[in-house]
């Protein structure tokens, strides 16, 4: 009797597992099909349709490949701002992907969005993305704690031990600096409107300070009604209509 009960329970569990995995598999298949449909639309030159397809997929979940494809579709549709926005997002997920970086540079060059030569500090901070810096700091901290708490007789000379501790401490400090440098720009965004204008104050009647190109990277400050205070790469600041600006981090 007991054996029969165990057999039935096992059978139920197997069926449940099969049912769930089938659902997951079906979802993945559906995503794959939609993804391929959007790719096909892109190849036919139907960029608007491709954008709709990729955007619909992005509501369910994102990947660097999806954002990269979205960036390409926007670039081909002539929406430079959104193309750059999606390339930047894709780079945050896959910082080492040369396709993403190459296309981003190409679109910037094509549209005259030339960036200033970065300083040594900026180059250092951009060696890794935020999460990589955090990972380096966290791993170093774990090792640091391990070495610090290891019994002294554990096969390490006292001087080597203190050397390793100091080295790890330096790595943690450098990684934290890198992470802070990256986090400072975490909420940066991109101008996504074609004729974005900076105003002196956040009201429609306020005077214009100047224009700002679509696709430019901006650092946002405080918000007021439908305006956001932004600072561009050249240090110019002013109020920009919120719908002309989209943050890279807020997806």
């Amino acid at each position: 009797m007991r054996a029969l009960y165990q057999f039935l329970m096992g059978l139920c569990c197997c069926l449940l597992f099969l049912f769930c995995s089938q659902n997951v598999w079906a979802d993945e298949q559906l995503q794959q099909t939609r993804f391929q449909d959007a790719v096909s639309a892109y190849n036919k030159g139907e960029y608007k349709q491709a954008i709709e397809g990729f955007e619909a997929l992005a509501t369910q979940g994102i990947s660097s490949a999806l954002l990269y494809n979205l960036g390409n579709s926007y670039a081909q549709a002539g929406q430079v701002g959104r193309a750059i926005l999606n390339y930047e997002r894709a780079l945050r997920l896959a910082p080492g992907d040369s396709d993403i970086r190459g296309n981003l540079e190409l679109v910037r060059k094509e549209k005259g969005l030339f960036q200033e030569e970065p300083s040594f500090g900026q180059r250092f901070v951009t060696l890794l993305v935020l999460n990589q810096w955090i990972a380096v700091a966290a791993i170093s901290f774990v090792v640091f704690a391990g070495v610090l708490l290891l019994p002294f007789s554990y096969g390490l000379k006292s001087s080597s031990r203190y050397g390793i501790i100091v080295m790890l401490f330096l790595v943690i400090a450098i990684a934290c600096s890198g992470a802070m440098g990256q986090y400072k720009h975490w909420h940066d965004g991109v101008v996504v409107a074609a004729d974005a204008r900076l105003r002196v104050s956040p009201f429609e009647s306020a005077a214009f300070i100047g224009t700002i190109q679509e696709g430019r990277l901006l650092h946002p400050g405080k918000k007021h009604n439908t305006y956001v205070l932004v600072v561009d790469e050249a240090g110019r600041s002013g109020w920009l209509a919120a719908d002309a600006f989209e943050s890279i981090a807020n997806f």
Binding site: Q31, Q32, F35, Q36, V39, S40, N43, K44, G45, L57, Q60, G61, I62, S63, S64, A65, L66, Y68, N69, N72, A75, Q76, R92, L93, S98, D99, R101, G102, N103, L106, V107, E110, K111, G112, L130, N131, I134, A135, A138, F141, A145, L148, L149, F152, S153, S158, Y183, W186, P202, F203, A207, I209, G210, T211, Q213, H224, N225, I248, A249, F251
Partner: protein, 630 residues
């Protein structure tokens, strides 16, 4: 051997001590950074608006006071329809019950540009001790007072009077001096606005000068006025001077005037005594005992007649954007030696005096062979004393499409010169260039995933491929990849926070254990007691075994061994060196240790036997006496 062990132990103790100190310091730093800021005293801030309701043509004073600080920085909010002008700062210091407290008050002038209900939102005040918020202040702005001369009853305390120059020049008057009376549509005409207050009168300004009349706009008066002293008709005046500009917006002849709201504090003359010879009629006593009467006034200028002329159609250049004034153009390009396809940054500066809001980017005389991008612009005002004077800097990217180009063509800018009454076109010299042919084509980034490219090519064969607007893009990726990635920093993710907390707890536990170990290593008495306890435990087990087999000799041998071990630790000698003679010398006569030791010796040499009962009694007494040694 022993001394080596002792040295080793000493070294270990020292190292543990250093580690414990390092860890304690680390925790102290963590405590200082995490906890101490929260313990700092909170500051007190308040904001008041006076008066609580005011007409549109008046202003109110917003006082923000922070107690317990020496300086602070409020974050003045942006409110639609309101403008805030900083008017000053005052500091107050008080001794209360022997304690010194200071408060700082910042005063702002609040002006509205429409009638209605407003609320100044909570203002964030940042100080060295932290931040605090004031309360929101609701208030009403009522319709402006229309009466030009309103003499209210004396009991009302205040009255509004319009003082026009020539009528009451003795108290205060306003003078408007435009640079010229005839200007072109859109032209910026510098204007000087001077408000004169007779010496001895105290005055508060309730508004900035406002233009009355049609056809002209007065530029925003952003800066503080210049304060001077002048003599007019042998009377000394304090003069406030604003440099601004008028801009004609409608053709024709227009009458304009400028007004400013002020509150005058007029000294009330003491009533003279009837005799006329009292010493209190002396001016000294008049000034000492007289009080002040507050009087709200509108100081207005004489009406000026100005003419706005239309711009001539004759000779208007095609690229004329509406710029009127006197301008200069300078252009620089970087780099001038480049490879084909490299961008050139063109910096174009239009400087001079005029209506810079209508100045647009200068253009290349010919764009053939060039790809141009939308320029960005920035206006820089030289200084507030000369309105309309400044420079507008344009930055434009250019890419040469033709490798044979030898120069950047002349750059042109057209404007209307109101002095000469003609249109003028400024043109720069062409800038020589050296363009080298690019050796390697860099536009096409090499895709990393060749497999995917092959797939795309296969896919492309089946579909009709349309030429893309941006050429050279790496192809799409055909596999969506893991679709649950997140654009959030690691430290905001729950699993990371959980792991961090676990690690922290683990580290804390390890640190506590290390500190305990360091404490143990640092305390020889504790070490000795622990060892004595440990050895006694082991010995007692052996005694129990010998009791069960009723082995008197073995029992007494073990007892002697335990006594030697325990006393060796207390007396800091080797256990084997302790004899009955040592015990007799150092222990009292009635000590059970002595009795047991003696019995053990006798048993070893004389074969003495003990009963089970005697052995049990020995055990209990021995245990209590040995435990008493610690």
């Amino acid at each position: 051997m022993k001394s080596r062990n002792r040295n080793k132990n000493r070294k270990k103790v020292q190292e543990n001590r250093i580690l414990a100190k390092v860890l304690s310091l680390g925790y102290l730093v963590l405590f200082v950074f995490a906890v101490v800021p929260a313990l700092q005293a909170a500051i007190e801030v308040s904001a008041t608006l006076s008066p609580g309701s005011f007409p549109l043509d008046r202003a109110a004073a917003l006082n923000i006071t922070a107690t317990g600080v020496r300086s602070f920085q409020p974050e003045i909010p942006e409110v639609d329809g309101l403008s805030f002008h900083r008017r000053g700062q005052s500091t107050q210091m008080e001794f209360i019950n022997g304690a010194l407290s200071s408060s700082v008050t910042l005063t702002y002038l609040v002006q509205a540009d429409r009638v209605g209900s407003f609320t100044i939102p909570a203002i964030q005040v940042s100080t060295k001790n932290g931040t605090a918020m004031t309360r929101a202040i609701p208030f009403e702005v009522t319709a402006p007072q229309t009466a030009t001369i309103t003499q209210q009853s004396a009991s009302a305390g205040a009255s509004t009077t319009r003082l026009r120059s020539g009528e009451a020049a003795k108290l205060a008057f306003l003078r408007v001096t435009p640079a010229k009376e005839r200007s072109y549509l859109g032209e910026v005409v510098p204007v000087q606005i001077q408000v004169f207050f007779r010496d001895g009168i105290k005055a508060n300004l309730n508004s900035l000068p406002q233009l009355h009349g049609e056809g002209y706009l007065l530029q925003q008066l952003g800066r503080e006025p210049e304060q001077t002293r002048e003599h007019v008709n042998n009377t000394s005046y304090a003069v406030l001077t604003w440099e601004s500009a008028l801009s004609g917006i409608k053709e024709g002849v227009h009458e304009i005037s400028i007004e400013i709201d002020a509150t005058l504090l007029l000294p009330e003359q003491r009533r003279r005594s009837s005799s006329g010879h009292s010493m209190f009629n002396d001016p000294f006593f008049n000034s000492l005992f007289s009080s002040y009467q507050e009087k709200n006034v509108k100081v207005a200028s004489l009406t000026r007649t100005l003419t706005v002329l239309p711009l001539p159609d004759k000779g208007k250049p095609k690229d004329f954007s509406g710029a009127i004034g006197d301008f200069r153009l300078s252009v620089s390009a970087n780099p001038v030696e480049l490879s084909h396809g490299d961008p050139i940054t063109l910096n174009m500066t239009v400087s001079g005096q005029g209506n810079f809001d209508r100045v647009q980017a200068p253009k290349l005389s010919t764009e053939k062979g060039w790809k141009t991008y939308t320029p960005s612009s920035e206006f820089l005002e030289y200084d507030g004393s000369n309105p309309g004077r400044g420079k507008k800097v344009f930055e434009q990217a250019l890419v040469a499409k033709d490798v044979t180009l030898k120069e950047i063509p002349a750059i042109e800018f057209s404007y209307f010169d109101p002095t000469a009454a003609t249109y003028k076109t400024l043109s720069t010299n062409p800038i020589p260039l050296t363009i080298k042919r690019a050796v390697v084509e860099t536009a096409m980034p090499e895709p990393v995933k060749k497999e995917l490219r092959d797939k795309v090519n296969e896919s492309a064969k089946s579909d009709t491929v349309v030429e893309p607007p941006v050429s050279g893009l790496a192809p799409l990726q055909l596999v969506p990849g893991y679709m649950d990635q997140k654009l959030t920093p690691l430290f905001t993710r729950q699993w990371f926070q959980l792991v961090a907390v676990l690690l922290f707890l683990l580290l804390t536990t390890a640190v506590i254990m290390k500190i305990r170990a360091a404490h143990y290593a640092n305390n020889p008495r504790l070490q000795r007691d622990q060892e004595m306890k440990h050895l006694l435990g082991l010995g007692m087990k052996e005694i129990d075994q010998s009791l069960t087999v009723n082995d008197t000799r073995g029992f007494l041998e073990i007892c002697r061994k335990i006594i030697q071990e325990q006393l060796a630790l207390v007396w800091e000698v080797s256990s084997g060196a302790i004899t009955l003679a040592d015990l007799q010398k150092r222990l009292p006569e009635d000590s059970v240790l002595l009795a047991v030791f003696r019995a053990a010796d006798e048993s070893a040499y004389g074969g003495q036997k003990l009963s089970q009962q005697e052995m049990k009694e020995f055990v209990d007494r021995l245990r209590s006496e040995l435990e008493g040694l610690r």
